[in-house]
């Protein structure tokens, strides 16, 4: 029976390449998909591209391909990635240069364009599109002149077109994460649009793999001490046949594939398990099962598919002001009290200098900066604290307001309560990018598949 094996090579932009390299070399793969795009990534890439027209894609992918691209090509391992980001043709050109340099004759790069709708927004507004926020907050009129990027999440079909034209590698922009995994599965098995349960299985294969190591023992709350060899954590691999579906990993690497490790990833960022919406299919995992089926091998069952949604999700990024985050550390005795006093000094100074802000947050790292209101704080703990780091975060409308606090932090080593220790260099003001998720009709989107052959 035909079996297709696909690996999740990257979980985000900035992930380690080690597991991807290992699975190309030892994973016995048919395909590997590499996810680089989180919600905000495209906004960041767009700003990079505005500064440098050659940038705006995940350069990490090109470096990974320098390492294993030729081996993957020789082994006929298809590679799918959304590394194209905001500069898909830039990524294609960079990959082509690598392929030429390494003599990969006949290598075909497929790529998909058309998810970047920024230039079309004014026309869509004129056509009556309201861009209602999916989270029911805000007024679109207030952000429409501050847009940074506008990218639509799309499904498997244009990626499958590339594969059908013989692409060895497919580069996309904002294809839905799980579509990168569904596309080769649907292509190999010939699943049609009405094969809802199969499409749903392909999506869940993607869902279990798209975060890389988080699907194989990374960020594992159940028993992190029990995960073998995290220094060489293998990333998960899905094996599908027409009627079976397993999660496993490559031999000779660390990590763990267990019922619990799969469970933690299975519901991660899924909202309603009976209606997990993707561009290709609405997935129902409300009766799904995960069963250990051998060493580092879990069987996935009970996944159902329902009709795909009528609309596609468009994610707009917009300028939402500025932010500055500063730190200053204090040691025993009275570490917390001194940090509080330093915060008080700084706030008085900022008030005197007329700083205007939208939002302000003062936290004490080591005490309650992560668990906030539910952290357990008592007098005894505070008295005994060896050290604490004061953290002040400020969001402003104008950049100059955010800049005011920066030169005032390090002087507190000499001018404030005793034992303050400044680290990490002066803070920088960063742009705040807001996210505006909305739904648009499918016919507003024209995606195109292309192919380029390396001679």
């Amino acid at each position: 029976m035909k079996k297709v094996s696909i690996g999740g090579g990257q979980g985000f932009w900035g992930d380690s390449p080690d597991a991807a390299i290992h699975m190309i070399r030892h994973g016995n793969l048919d395909y590997m998909a590499c996810d680089y795009l989180a919600e905000l990534t495209l906004s960041i890439m767009q700003r990079q591209r505005m500064k440098n027209p050659a940038a705006g894609y995940a350069r990490d992918f090109i470096n990974l391909m320098k390492e294993v691209g030729k081996e993957a090509y020789e082994k006929k391992i298809g590679i799918i990635t959304n590394a194209g980001g905001m500069n898909i043709t830039g990524a294609v050109d960079a990959l082509k240069a690598v392929a030429e340099e390494q003599g990969m004759h006949g290598y075909k790069i497929g790529y998909v364009t058309g998810d970047d709708l920024l230039d079309q927004i004014p026309k869509m507004i004129a056509d009556g599109c309201e861009f209602k926020n999916m989270d029911d907050v805000g007024d679109f009129n207030e952000i429409k002149d501050k847009l940074v990027n506008a990218n639509v999440y799309y499904g498997r079909e244009p990626l499958m077109d590339c594969l059908a034209q013989g692409a060895n590698t497919v580069i996309t922009g904002r294809a839905a994460d799980s579509a990168m995994f569904l596309a080769p599965l649907a292509y190999e098995f010939g699943w049609k649009g009405g094969d809802l349960d199969n499409l749903a299985r392909g999506i869940m294969a993607g869902h279990l793999l798209e975060c890389g190591g988080q699907g194989s023992g990374g960020n594992f709350q159940y028993d992190w001490r029990g995960v073998p060899d995290m220094d060489q954590l293998g990333f998960p691999i899905a094996e599908l046949t027409e009627d079976d579906f397993h999660i496993t990993k490559a031999p000779n690497c660390g990590g763990l594939i267990s019922e619990q490790s799969c469970k933690e990833q299975f519901l991660y960022e899924v909202h309603d398990p009976a209606n997990y919406i993707t561009p290709d299919v609405t997935v129902d995992i409300s009766k799904a099962t995960l069963t250990q089926d051998g060493d580092n091998r879990v069987r996935v069952g009970g996944i159902k598919g329902k009709a795909k949604p009528d609309m596609l999700k468009l994610c707009l990024g917009y300028h939402a002001g500025y932010k500055v985050v500063t730190y200053l550390s204090f040691a025993w005795p009275d570490a917390y009290e001194k940090a509080q006093y330093a915060a008080d000094i700084l706030m008085k100074k900022m008030k005197r200098k007329g700083m205007q802000y939208e939002d302000l947050r003062i936290d004490y790292v080591g005490l309650n900066a992560l668990h906030l209101d539910v952290a357990e704080v008592d007098e005894d703990l505070i008295k005994r604290m060896n050290e604490v780091v004061l953290r002040i975060a400020i969001r402003t409308k104008d950049k100059k307001d955010a800049q005011l606090i920066i030169p005032e932090i390090s002087p507190l080593q000499l001018n404030g309560p005793p034992g303050a220790s400044f680290f990490g260099g002066r803070a920088h003001v960063t742009d705040v990018i807001g996210l505006w998720p909305t739904l648009i009709p499918r016919d507003a989107v024209k995606l195109e598949s292309h192919i380029l052959e390396v001679k």
């Binding site: 709350q221 933690e264 991660y268 900066a369 539910v374």
Partner: protein, 106 residues
């Protein structure tokens, strides 16, 4: 009354979509699942997080996995770069959830 950290009976993971935090919670031992469903009501979770979660909380049960999925709106201080929290993506919302104390005699 026997108060224990939820962590001893359950495990899970948190994720984010904008300002929405999602925490999935699974029984470590399937025999505790019904107890967890009884005790982890939306009201209880809302009260526990207080001001940290400003929006609605919805719980979805997946009995076949002995798990629940909590979807909490306006829970990340604005979400992504808007948020001034150290943990803007709510990676630690899962462990924050797990330090809730539950009464096993309940």
């Amino acid at each position: 009354m026997a108060l224990v950290y939820l962590n001893t009976l359950a495990h899970g993971r948190s994720g984010d979509k904008g300002d929405t935090s999602n925490v999935c919670v699974f029984a470590r031992d399937p025999k505790d699942y019904e107890f967890l469903k009884r005790v982890l009501t939306v009201e209880r979770v809302k009260e526990y997080f207080g001001d940290m979660v400003k929006g609605e909380i919805v719980r979805y049960d997946v009995d076949t996995l002995c798990g629940m999925n909590f979807v909490m709106k306006h829970a990340l201080g604005g979400g992504a770069t808007h948020s001034l929290r150290l943990d803007t993506l709510g990676k630690s919302m899962g462990s924050a959830f797990m330090r809730m104390k539950v009464d096993t005699d309940w």
